[in-house]
Symmetry: C2
Subunit: 262 residues, 2 copies
């Protein structure tokens, strides 16, 4: 392959240290174009901007690298990158992140980082979302970089199945303690919410969302298991949400019962 074209985005915003790490790794591999949100967009899921205009500006943030900041969501960034910024230049891969904090298990559905990667996969661009299990702004992204580079090179060389993306999470460990990668499934875990209630200066109630992550899926083939045991988790993911477990039984039980008034 000639110099591959790599589209980089994220959800923590274009000035986050995590995207800087990903741009650095990507620029060792190919030509890099960055289109990322102009402000943090964590927890935006697969949101798109449909009721207002979106801004897009070229910025000098990464030395010598073509970069744009966008007022929209991470998914908007990918759509604008494909249709406005790159137009006829077809990216060979889209990488999103490195997110500050886990996107393992159920976090994938809330994550702007992974939604951006999924949007790219819908555009037929192989894609990877990367996340480090450290929420802090000062997170150290260097231990995982070697793996990030190998995973990008692997996907550039081998491709992914049509419609597939990779959800890669990196344990927060020193490089020497990273044991390797595990290709695994999404653990069946969830968040249990606890809302903090407070009063504003005018005496009006408001709520602040918080919660704790609960995993009762203790099999050894999950992303949570891999991360707890020192491995990077690699979950091939896709946009088909059909529950194939239920399809046949519901078809038989429901179609006969639910009828028109005739």
């Amino acid at each position: 392959m000639q110099q591959p074209l790599i589209l980089v985005t994220n959800d923590d915003g274009i000035t986050a240290p995590g995207i800087r790490a990903l741009v650095e790794v990507s620029s060792r591999i190919g030509e890099v174009v960055v289109v990322a949100p102009d402000s943090p967009q964590s927890g935006m899921g697969h949101a798109i901007t449909i009721s207002g205009p979106i801004r897009l500006h070229p910025v000098e943030v990464f030395d010598g690298i073509e970069a744009y900041e966008c007022s929209g969501t991470p998914v908007d960034c990918v759509k604008l990158a494909k249709n406005v910024v790159l137009k006829d230049r077809n990216p060979d891969i889209c990488v999103s992140g490195i997110n500050h904090g886990s996107n393992a298990s159920i976090n994938i559905i809330y994550s702007g980082t992974l939604s951006a990667a999924m949007e790219a996969s819908l555009e037929h661009i192989p894609s990877i979302g990367f996340s480090l299990l450290d929420y802090s702004h000062e997170a150290d992204f260097s231990p995982g970089k070697n793996y990030v580079e190998q995973l990008i090179r692997f996907v550039l060389e081998h491709g992914l199945q049509e419609g597939s993306l990779l959800n890669v999470n990196i344990p927060n460990l020193p490089e020497g303690e990273l044991k390797g990668i595990k290709v695994c499934r999404q653990a069946d875990a969830r968040w249990v919410e606890e809302f903090v209630e407070a009063k504003d200066p005018r005496g009006q109630n408001y709520y602040w969302l918080t919660g704790r992550f609960v995993n009762e899926d203790h099999e050894e083939d999950t992303d949570i298991w891999a991360l707890q045991n020192g491995y990077l988790s690699v979950v091939p993911s896709m946009h088909d949400l059909t529950d194939y477990r239920s399809l046949k039984v519901l078809k038989e039980s429901m179609e006969a019962v639910v009828q028109g008034v005739g």
Copy 2:
């Protein structure tokens, strides 16, 4: 079952005609509590509000029915309903919609309506998202009501598989032309974007997202086929995004190649 408790939400906002239709049907079946956004939240996907406070106010919108408007996303509404409004009252079902416009196929991942239903399923509440294939504010929800009622009653009686929700779309047809329901899979379609570029009064560029829906999945077991042929589509859906097609082959090919530097 004694009088079931039905949680109603949507993404078009608490004053939309679609939620009024759903509240009307639900109140024939059981006790209804409404927690819905105070403004339109279409296209919000599975977004949650994590960087700001959320407001929640009781409102008199539906005659004699307990209702709250919420400043957050549809997913926030479900989280607040479960943890703040209902607390120890456990809803027997959550219904979301009726959305003004299709949520068939890939629209499920952009849809606040379906994300609210999915959030309920994560909270172990059986749930259904309903959508009518008419985007207009003046959409006529009456033809599908009979089916909406039957589907809610079916799920209350039979339940759904753990973690499952139903994505129900209703063709925009007179009642006599609705042929029945089809339980089906999500068609593998997508949006092709076309950004409209314009200048604001100060001469700055902006973009407006638009696009057209493209379906190249012409099998007869999909939601798009059902809708095009006069049936309501019922897609059992879930939150596990793992691409099981790719799991084994990637496990074999990738784990051996991507290694630590040690």
